[in-house]
Symmetry: C2
Subunit: 150 residues, 2 copies
DNA sequence: ACTCTTAATAAGAATAATTCTTATTAAGAG
DNA sequence: CTCTTAATAAGAATTATTCTTATTAAGAGT
């Protein structure tokens, strides 16, 4: 993302914070700026190191907390929708996964021939492909129900 | 997977082990049996608990090691291709990811309108969808090169 | 079957990523 | 400018996973 786009993103952050009654802190701005201007899908540690030059006293915990809140605000997202634990499957039939971002449950979605995913040509230039699957992220019905109870 | 399919899978494991000069251990058999007969994408802890009834002395380390080796043998796979660290991205333009299973590098793949993924109808019944992206797993060219050096 | 080599294991310590606890700071409402 | 409290820094704690080391057992060779 170029400078202008990053600046626009910061403006969006400010609006989003106001809307959610969240405070616009330097930490939030600098961390979003860093993720938005990076092209390397940085991890928390990399963001921490990069942001230190602007905010020398920042703690790694703030980075984690802020990345999570920026995700909540829909400003950034987590590549691969990391789950706290690795989960395994022995069924090699090509199928997709619906992953509930709230409870971590994984739902299989088996598709027919017509709905099979096609791997973009570009991918073959990057390396040797082992497999590919569609990852659908959302909130499952069960968790949606729970939300209403609160 | 039904009993018969599980048994077939165990046979495949035995063949694969012989081919790779790996020993056919009870731990490998029971762990594969557990993952293959489960429908819940179990994590290491769940496999550990389930397998304890058959092998009361099994250690959690063996479960982790065995799950990894079963993955190597292509008998099971890891849902979501868990990476050791969470990685973030601020670019919400729909795009896919090529994830190198060896070095963890994530490569963006931007696609044109025609190659856009279509979310299977079934997914909408499971819950509220936030987003979806294609995850292509493989080994990047750089890592493929390194392999040859050995 | 018996022996031997060594891959695989159990046990528990160690590590790495992430989250929690608590005291302090500062955003922004009034 | 003051006050409330959300957000933070610091470091301890936790959780998933991996490593270390001594022991066991698979299976090759006899």
């Amino acid at each position: 993302m170029n400078n202008k786009m990053v600046e626009e993103k910061i403006e969006k952050l400010k609006e989003a914070c106001k809307k959610q009654h969240m405070r616009v802190t330097n930490q939030r701005i600098e961390i979003l700026k860093e993720v938005a201007s990076s092209t390397s899908h940085p991890d928390a540690e990399a963001v921490f190191e990069a942001v230190k030059s602007k905010l020398p006293n920042i703690s790694i915990d703030t980075v984690y907390r802020t990345l999570a809140s920026l995700e909540d605000l829909n400003m950034i997202f987590r590549v691969d929708n990391q789950l706290p634990k690795a989960r395994f499957d022995a069924d090699k039939t090509p199928h997709h996964h619906f992953i509930c971002t709230r409870c971590g449950e994984v739902f299989d979605i088996f598709v027919n021939e017509r709905d099979k995913i096609k791997i973009p040509q570009q991918a073959f230039k990057i390396g040797t492909i082992k497999d590919a699957n569609l990852q659908i992220r959302g909130v499952c019905n069960k968790c949606n129900g729970k939300k209403k109870e609160n």
